[in-house]
Each structure stands twice: as C-alpha cells, then as structure tokens.
C-alpha cells in the first residue's frame, strides 16, 4: 500500500491520521505542503522519526525545493524522490490511499 499526504502537519491532522492507521512497512509519500513534516528540528520531527522506523517514508523533491526545504536536512530515514520516483512508487506499492 502507498499512502500519500499533501497537507502541512501543523494545519491539518491528515498525516497524523495516516500514521495512526498505515500498516507496518507501508510506503508513505509526503508531497505539496506535507513535505514540511520531513524537516529536522520541528515539533513534528519526533513523530516523523518514529514513522521513518515503521514505514518507508518518501518526500517529493520538487515540492521540497519550491518551499526552500533543504533535502540534506530531513529527518533521518526520509528518502527523496522525483516525479519519476512517484510514478514508480504507485506502480510498485499500489493501491494508493490518499489522505486529503
């Protein structure tokens, strides 16, 4: 299963809802405003660190770049993918559950 989340964890609880329900080992892709969750040093970083140990967590590179989030300063274990990687995740891990 691939879970996708596109909302900031500081504004909506979509990511929290996802993390509380995804099966161990599931893939989770953060894109659009959800990529802020992947930054080091935020009040959400501990939750994200825990998530990275239970799930495969990915962040979409172009959305990091748009928001000025340095891909070298993400929570340990979060992997960066580009649009091609997004497509590969859908193809390999599907079905997709979108947490809006």
């Amino acid at each position: 299963m691939l879970h996708t989340v596109n909302k900031s964890p500081f504004e909506r609880n979509a990511l929290e809802a996802c993390l509380n329900r995804a099966a161990s080992g599931a893939a989770i892709l953060l894109y659009e405003d959800a990529v802020y969750a992947a930054m080091q040093g935020t009040s959400f970083a501990d939750a994200m660190h825990g998530a990275a140990s239970r799930f495969e967590v990915y962040a979409l590179g172009p959305d990091l770049a748009a928001r000025g989030v340095d891909p070298a300063k993400l929570v340990d274990g979060v992997r960066v993918v580009d649009y091609g990687g997004f497509v590969d995740l859908v193809a390999e891990k599907g079905p997709v559950q979108a947490w809006l």
Binding site: D33, Q40, A66
Partner: protein, 127 residues
C-alpha cells in the same frame, strides 16, 4: 461646495498570513491585497503566524512546479512603503526555524505581542 480635497483617511491595516505559500493561492492573494492597501497610502502591517511563516522562508524555488516565485515580492514591499512586517517567534520555533531563515527583514515578536498588535488595528484581514 469646496474644491478642497477631503483629508485622506488613514487606517491601521493588518494582514494576517496563516497559510503556507505554494499549496494554496491564499499567500499570493494576500500579497496582492497588501500592495493595493499600500497604493492607497494606508498604514499597512503584515503578520506571519502559524504556517504563514513559511511564506518568508529563504530558498524557495517553485520553478520546478512551473509556478511563479512570488517570494521575491516580499523583499520588494519596502519599495511600496510596506516596512512593518512581523513574524511570530512561537510559530518559527515549532517549525525549527529562526530569524536567520527569513528572506526579508522582519520584527520577530512573541505570541502575546502579536495579540496586542492585532488588538491595536482598525482593520484586520486574515487568510
């Protein structure tokens, strides 16, 4: 009837930004409202709280999304007489950010000071 123009009314305007910049259109729309108020020579203040602080984060390159990089416009506000920019300290801290991460000179104030600022305005517009 006098030909004298009426004395211009100047009000204290506060624009409160609470949304991250690229996921929705709110940030860009507020920026346009700010420029309009500035053209009418109003006393314009701009606040960044909650996810709004991301609007003034350095290093934004939305070209990869084929979107306009309006983050540069915040730096140009000074040229329109908009110099009263306020960023809430608590919102920065929650997001692992500091004043050094901001792309524009802004006064970093506490949540309590932000509340006082809001309470001192004639008009508050929020998005």
């Amino acid at each position: 009837m006098s030909d004298e123009p009426e004395a211009a009314v100047v009000k204290r305007f506060l624009y409160v930004n609470r949304k991250a910049p690229h996921g929705t259109v709110y940030a860009l729309e507020v920026l346009e409202m700010v420029l309009i108020a500035a053209m009418f020579d109003q006393d314009v203040h701009v606040a960044f709280i909650d996810d709004g602080v991301y609007q003034v984060k350095k290093g934004q390159t939305p070209g990869a999304l084929e979107m306009k990089d309006f983050s540069k416009t915040y730096r140009a506000l000074e040229g329109y007489g908009v110099e009263k920019l306020f960023v809430e300290q608590e919102s920065l801290t929650e997001r692992g950010l500091t004043q050094d991460d901001l792309l524009v000179p802004a006064e970093v104030i506490s949540r309590a000071q932000m509340a006082t600022l809001m309470n001192s305005m004639d008009v508050v517009l929020s998005a």
